[in-house]
Amino acid sequence: MPMIQRKQVIPGDVVAKGNYRYGSYIEKRGEEYVALRVGLAEVGRDEIKLNPFTGPYLPRTDDEVIGKVIDINGFGWVIDINSCFDGFLPASFVFGRDFSPATHDLSSKFRVGDILGTRIESYERSRDPQLSIRGEGYGKISSGEIVKISPTKVPRVIGRRGTMINLISEKTGCDIRVGQNGVIVVDGSPDGIVKAIKAIRLVEEETHAPDLMSKVEAALGGGVVGGN
């Protein structure tokens, strides 16, 4: 029966000794694997993972992120993706290969202030992340309420295979879109939105409480909308 050891760690703590595969936020020093963040480390049979409790959003290729257009230049849109880097959505990704700044009007498509659901096309250390809206469901988001949470808590809001987000969505009748950058758009009836945001905040506050699912379920309840 495979067992994993869960360890609460702070920067500088030795997570394990030996020979393991290891992910982000862990550094190997000789035989020792050292944590670089405050978080929960999981030591499996041959693998160590560290789930950090706080931290900024750093872009990763293929992440779905929700951002806001903050500038338009001749070649595309600059998008705030809640990170230390601004995303760039090139106009040629939207208008196609034959894009030319002379014939196409960028602001006819997206304007400053628009909220976009995008995917990170590419990101490397030396350049700002490039975004794309190719694919189903990407593009302008025209209605809903924006909630920002810590990006490290996104996996808990989504839950294992989306169970948490589906639960909140079902109980409140809202459409919920979660960006990996910690930006969430909730759309639905006003009462539903209020309930959904409350539930998301609950997940954010009690991220590591045992049996969070049933806690959230109880909070959402079958109760009357508007009643606590």
Partner: protein
């Protein structure tokens, strides 16, 4: 020296009742400011210091951007009301120097290579000052960095030691710093076993230097335990724990 007699009496008791190797009371708190990405507060003797971390964020002005790593900026500042006589709020020569040494003490712990082209800002504000405010600032700032979720090799913890006459003492307060014969602030990374700040003033014999340096490290490790506790209280609600659970089926 006439003054030294008063600082430590014939029983080896100092002005505030401490023995030569005792620390002043220390209180640490993490996550005290909502609008900072990370923050910490320290009370160390009469020191009251806030540390805040912002970032990583975009670098302005743009020409300061480092293509391969983060720019760590640090500001140590004393509030006008932090001392007996009002201090001019403009950064003094002393504060500029302390900002520099705090930056250098922290930069060896922060993995700046993980955040290229960004700036990480550390603000250390002294609300009430006593001796050893730079080491207290470093201790709080490293907690604020951990709170901000910035990759770090280790926490940084500082402690100062010094001389009263020919007696080595730990953790000088304001009077001892001014009237005593030497001051030695030391910052260490306890898990790595490295020193990231060492400043000395005063005249030391070889033996006294060795003794003061080793005492500072020993006391630093003691303060590291308090740092740990502050961080684990904030994030885990108590002591860090380790549990075994069955692997969930994927």
């Amino acid at each position: 020296m006439a003054g030294t007699k008063k600082l430590i009496d014939e029983n080896g008791i100092r002005l505030d009742g401490r023995k030569w190797n005792e620390l002043r009371p220390i209180k640490l708190q993490v996550g005290v400011m909502k609008n900072a990405d990370g923050s910490a507060y320290i009370e160390w003797g009469k020191n009251k210091i806030m540390a805040a971390v912002y970032g990583p964020k975009e670098v302005h002005p743009k020409h300061q951007v480092l293509p391969d790593r983060a720019l760590l900026r640090c500001r140590y500042h004393m509030a006008p009301f932090s001392v007996d006589e009002r201090k001019n709020p403009a950064p003094s020569r002393r504060e500029i120097e302390i900002s520099k040494v705090i930056r250098e003490a922290l930069v060896s712990a922060v993995i700046v290579e993980d955040y290229p082209r960004t700036a990480i800002e550390v603000w250390v504000e002294v609300l009430q000052s006593d001796g050893g405010s730079r080491v207290a600032g470093i201790t709080a700032a490293s907690l604020a960095l951990a709170d901000a979720g910035i990759n770090m090799r280790d926490l940084v913890v500082g402690c100062s030691c010094g001389l009263i006459g020919e007696q080595v003492v730990s953790d000088l307060d304001d009077t001892e710093d001014k009237e005593g014969n030497g001051d030695m602030p030391v910052a260490i990374m306890p898990n790595l076993g490295l020193v990231s700040l060492l400043q000395v003033d005063g005249v030391y014999t070889r033996e006294n230097f060795q003794k003061a340096f080793e005492l500072a490290i020993e006391k630093g490790k003691q303060i590291y335990q308090m740092q740990r506790e502050a961080l684990t209280t904030r994030f885990f609600g108590g002591e860090a724990q380790s549990t075994e659970v069955e692997e969930a089926a994927e």
